[in-house]
Subunit: 237 residues, 4 copies
């Protein structure tokens, strides 16, 4: 990720620090104003550095976004990949794992996720940043592979299109996060996030798993006072 480290340790770290400061500033400004609304001047001011310094660390605006994308999205994607390509784990575990990764990212830095979703994952057709242009699609393809393998092993209902399954999972997670990002979901407590994460994974799994495969249910029913009396309406009997 970082090619600079020679010179002296101090210099290197100082340099990295500066670079990182600018990067954080870029994420903030992007999150606040979006790609087009964000001017280099804004980033510099936010970072508290001189105008021209941004151009010392980044070739141009696109490289800056490119880097923002790489830093954020790249890490995100590799974590997703780690889960999706795990050797000895069930589809269910993988799906839950993917939801985990996504929600954890949101918990750690909601603002960055906002950028990821709005500015990077969905960069408009024209696409500012060539290589990141269809960032989301890579993830979907990766997930599609995962579903295809699972389908071959009988872990996914055979009549389902793996690519479409991948799209649905990603769409569900993304819109679930969007609901939080956008303020649609009022309760943003860690517990609420966990409940949402579980609901997303389980609803999805229930929808695509073979009828014969029972679902490991977590208890995430809200706090219905009467829920105690309610039978853990579980999955399948």
């Amino acid at each position: 990720m970082s090619q600079r480290q020679s010179k002296s340790v101090e210099a290197g770290s100082r340099e990295n620090e500066r670079r990182h400061t600018i990067l954080r500033a870029a994420i903030d400004v992007f999150a606040r104003k979006g790609y087009h609304g964000c001017r280099i001047a804004d980033v510099a001011r936010e970072a508290g550095v001189a105008y021209g310094l941004v151009y010392h660390y980044f070739k141009n605006k696109d490289e800056l976004l490119e880097t923002v994308a790489e830093t954020g999205w790249g890490g995100f994607v590799s974590r997703i990949r780690a889960v999706a390509e795990e050797e000895n784990s069930s589809l269910e575990a993988k799906v839950r794992g993917i939801a985990d990764v996504a929600f954890e990212a949101y918990r750690v830095d909601p603002r960055a996720v906002k950028v990821l979703i709005l500015e990077i994952a969905r960069s408009p057709a024209g696409g500012h940043v060539a290589s990141r242009q269809q960032a989301f699609l890579d993830v979907i393809r990766m997930a599609a592979d995962m579903f295809a393998r699972a389908q071959a092993e009988g872990q996914l209902r055979p009549e389902l299109d793996p690519m479409l399954c991948a799209s649905l999972l990603c769409g569900s997670i993304e819109m679930g996060l969007t609901a939080f990002v956008s303020g649609l979901m009022e309760d943003r407590s860690p517990e609420a996030l966990d409940r949402a994460k579980a609901q997303i994974a389980e609803s999805f799994l229930r929808g695509v798993l073979p009828s014969s495969a029972p679902l490991t249910e977590t208890s995430w029913k809200q706090e219905s006072p009467s829920s105690g009396t309610r039978p853990k309406v579980g999955k399948r009997a």
Copy 2:
């Protein structure tokens, strides 16, 4: 030719024609380059009219997009609403109906849907067009109401959060369409679209409907050669 009455009649339709031409051009250019990448000059060239004429029909760039949004999204939303607020229809029927509306819109005008999804529904944080800014959110809220009502009637599993259900449905449909829009799905034949539509609705329903409620399954298995024998089951009884 130079007579009054015929002139005015023609004039009216000519004017509307021009306006419509420009609107179509705007949709095309938006679809190709996104809001910011689309210059008025592009729209004018695409429409084959003079630069200034765009400003004869639209106050400014924002009003142009606003109108694109209203024309496209507005109609779309009202059709969704008609389905969601239907009095005597089951949740399943409504969910299938919503998927129908979305996929029909895509079938009729894929390019417009592209704009809808990329530029209008997901307008970036900054949001160019005030009133349309959170267009998608309105639809989700509408769907959330629908799910809440259904839940009260026992048509939705009680432990699910209606707002989240709404998000998941919308996310699934949107990403399903995105898969087509983006070229992720290679087969874009009407049949493939129908299959996808059914898979989306059914996976979703299977995921959220109470276990006790059986799902009316349509025949959309891809390569089942025996599907010919299966009756084209319509709605459920």
Copy 3:
């Protein structure tokens, strides 16, 4: 003033009427927004005619202003000239006459005078309308001639520069009117106007007439309660 009258009387007058309507509208809009702030569209709307019709009666915007200037300023100037070149009248009578003409013009149409002063007389250095560019200067030159002749006859103190006298007279009258036009003078009643006119003429005359030439004073003292004791002095002692 009007070169069109042939054809048929009706047609001519209808045409003239239209033209005049537009001209009035132009004066109004000019008065309200100034030359640059006034668009052809404004004039057309104000006149209640179609956009393009303005171009039937006037070649272009400049010709329109040119005509406004001619109509207003031209008439004004010729009236001034009539007074200034009168054969058998004293300098005092001429100066008073010039003030009369100016204030009468204001009384008749304050709005037109506003245009005259702000937009025509003082057209900025660049000058929109070539021929009118130095409209005011013509008047001053004319007045300078008048003063020079008077000086030759001993009616003006010999040490004064006639051109400067002309400038002072015009400046005084103009700024006097400006005081009314601008709202600096609150009382704009006919009586107040007459008082101002007299004060301007008399102050000026008292300043430039030879000491030996007594001034015919008018009674324009405002509301001096003690004025009863003061002889309604005609001549001074």
Copy 4:
């Protein structure tokens, strides 16, 4: 004007220099073409700088003019005010002082006075620059106060309206300067300017001072070589 001279110390002054260069250019172009005729491109070319640099130093065109106005008019007005509000000086001294200030400004920078008179003092009805819109009126009001005070002390004929007196004085001075600015006065030598200044002040004073107050006359008779022998013709005999 000056290329490179020193380095670090002059950074601040270099910046000011640039700003000043642009300001001068703006004054020049304004003087030549007026507010509307003057494009930013002109100012930049005149100043010999890049287009965008103008916007580095001035927020926009209006602020540029605003600054021109402030720099020129503001200083002018405060000098006038200093004279007008002087405690121990006669009305005559004040009037002469005001004429001094005005003519001195012209002597120092005729071009700037041209701008002042044509573009700032008399900004058209619409008024480009809000705060400077009625710059002249402020000066007139100030002078009116001065005359009112003088009238209370018997230094101004009681039947005169102070506001009108102020207008006349300002109008006289302004048109006097206009005569020079416009080329109406051919002799623009310092001596000619002094003569004009004296004539303006004295004619005005003679016109408004009480008959009992003699006027201190300066000798400015144009080409009377024998004027030295002429008795200091006071006012009244």
